[in-house]
Amino acid sequence: MREQQVKQLFDLVQQRYLWQFFSRSRDRIENINGIIAAANDMFRGVEPKRHLPMEKLFYADALEMVKDFKEAFPWIDTLEPTKIPELLEALKAELVDHTITKSLNHELNHSLY
């Protein structure tokens, strides 16, 4: 069940959001970490930090993602609160695997833009 749930979230993220496909690995990991962390806060009912420019950016991206998750997958609201971080952590691992670790994109690790 959990695998299926992660796959559903992952498929939606892959189809929908551009932040996972930035030019370099360092930007991709920064986005993935920041947005998943902000989403985690939102699911837990904690207001994500919005002081620094990058925090505002992660907030904006995470807000849409959480809304899309809730619309597309009503089961997410029925999960025990402790399960959400696990689920998002698994989603993060999938994203890192696909877009960074096993990506065939030869430009990902160039030091310059």
Binding site: Q14, S23, K56, E64, S103, L104, N105
Partner: protein, 472 residues
């Protein structure tokens, strides 16, 4: 066997690494077409040159800047007027073209004097214009003309002018993509931060990678005005030279075309700490999402929702009318790169259209990662496609309409398949809510145009006979 060797490519089997057929259960970890690589000998590429990427795509869009092309006259003509990017000051950029018109003697004896003379002549003829881009081309780069030094001399002699030099000859990269790169990096390093903007709103952003094709920028500007967001610089649709020098003062960089302009957004983040937000400006669902994200960043969510509600009420009924009539139609997209991933899901979700083949002239692997993630199974994804491949792919997927440029468009018209100009548009703008209705209308008019079927008939005899084209 998801990488595909087409029949027409049997003699150039290297092409197999550039054509992908997506099947269930695979993703871009398994297969990713080679891209942004040198064109393979034996294939007739549809690509442009690096100079074209700098001048035609980015620099030539500016509304207040002389575009001095240091090279033979053809380099100027062939990068002028083939894109439709109007401006709000009477389309200065589309009315004029400037060239040093290099001839054999200048190549032999050097062209720097001629360049200086041409720069002065252009400023003298247009005394109200004080800004200029100067580009090298293949021959002037090969003979080593120092355009930076010439520009420096002119700026010392004419302190009221400012000149940006772009040293990006056609041969400097594998496609126009190199020109995007050189211009982006040159501009951030030499011009950004040299002027301070007047700040008129507490919310400021740069809008990057939108070139005002048939008014895209001007349409989106109505949204930013309603939201109370100041766009410090448009890179470069309807853009002004001095505004682009002020990009360092924006709070947010909003990026549409990540391929042509992602570099400057990355550098603005690295050098000035300005976040980069990538959005899709084509399509109802995407445009609404982009507006929501921008407004969430600034904490003005209510304004965003009001704008989306207003635009949706106005345009959605028209979009739905077209959707009913386009549902299930098959589309091919053969453009530069980013429009593949911008459009494939938006036409699918908003118009019910299935995208069956996509070809990119200058996309990088990043673009293929995006489009393979968004595109359907059973769809072909092609890097640097050529005419014979297009013919074969058409036979395989049988599209009802093809979004591509006029040159390939004329080719497919011969096969009596309608095309819509995917670069300069038929009747744009295509961005935003109203724009996507325009795209839907042009698609509908193309798909349901009876003339293409009639054009395939010879009616001179007693019975109409199907015409055969030379290629058949």
């Amino acid at each position: 066997m998801p990488m595909v060797l087409l029949e027409c490519d049997k003699a150039i089997p290297e092409r197999e690494k550039h054509i992908y057929l997506k099947v269930e259960g695979e993703d871009s970890r398994d297969y990713l077409p080679i891209s942004n690589a040198a064109t393979i000998p034996g294939t007739l590429s549809e690509r442009g040159c690096a100079f074209c990427g700098a001048k035609l795509v980015i620099g030539g869009v500016l509304k207040d800047t002389i575009q001095m092309i240091h090279g033979p006259i053809g380099c100027a003509y062939d990068t002028w007027h083939t894109k439709r990017y109007p401006t709000d000051n009477g389309h200065f950029n589309m009315k004029y073209v400037w060239s040093t018109d290099m001839k054999e003697s200048h190549i032999v004896f050097g062209g720097e004097k001629r360049l200086k003379q041409s720069i002065n002549e252009a400023f003298d003829e247009m005394p109200d214009v004080k800004r200029m881009f100067v580009y090298t081309t293949c021959p002037t780069a090969l003979i080593g003309d120092d355009i930076k030094d010439v520009a420096k001399q002119v700026m010392q002699e004419r302190p009221d002018v400012d000149i940006f030099t772009c040293e990006c000859p056609g041969f400097s990269g594998v496609s126009q993509s190199k020109g995007h790169h050189v211009l982006n990096i040159g501009w951030i390093n030499e011009k950004v931060g040299t002027l301070e903007p007047e700040i008129t709103s507490e919310y400021t952003m740069n809008f990057i990678g939108d070139f005002n094709i048939q008014g895209d920028t001007q349409l989106l500007q109505t949204y930013w005005d309603k939201l109370g967001i100041q766009v410090i610089a448009h890179f470069t649709g309807n853009g002004a030279y001095d505004d682009l020098r002020c990009m360092h003062r924006a709070q947010l960089n909003v990026v549409n075309c990540a391929r042509s302009s992602g570099y400057i957004a990355n550098e603005l983040k690295k050098q000035y700490g300005i976040p980069r937000l990538d959005i899709d400006s084509w399509g109802f669902s995407y445009m609404a999402e982009g507006i929501r994200k921008i407004c969430s960043f600034f904490g003005i969510e209510d304004r965003g929702e009001a704008l989306i509600a207003e635009e949706t009420a106005k345009w959605k009924p028209q979009l739905d009318w077209y959707k009913e009539r386009l549902e299930g139609k098959k589309m091919a997209i053969w453009t530069g790169g980013p429009r593949l991933w911008h459009w494939t899901k938006s036409v699918e979700d908003d118009l019910g259209i299935q995208v069956v083949a996509m070809s990119s002239k200058f996309g990088h692997q990043e673009d293929f990662e995006k489009v393979i993630a968004r595109g359907q199974n059973g769809t072909y994804y092609i890097d640097d496609g050529n005419e014979l491949e297009f013919f074969e792919i058409i036979d395989l997927v049988k599209p009802d309409v093809i979004f591509t440029g006029p040159r390939v468009g004329e080719l497919v018209k011969k096969l009596h398949i309608p095309y819509v100009n995917g670069h300069g548009y038929h009747n744009g703008p295509y961005m935003g809510f109203e724009g996507f209705v325009n795209l839907a209308r042009d698609t509908y008019n193309a798909v349901h145009n009876p003339l293409l079927k009639l054009a395939a008939l010879d009616i001179r005899g007693e019975e109409a006979i199907k015409l055969l084209e030379a290629a058949e």
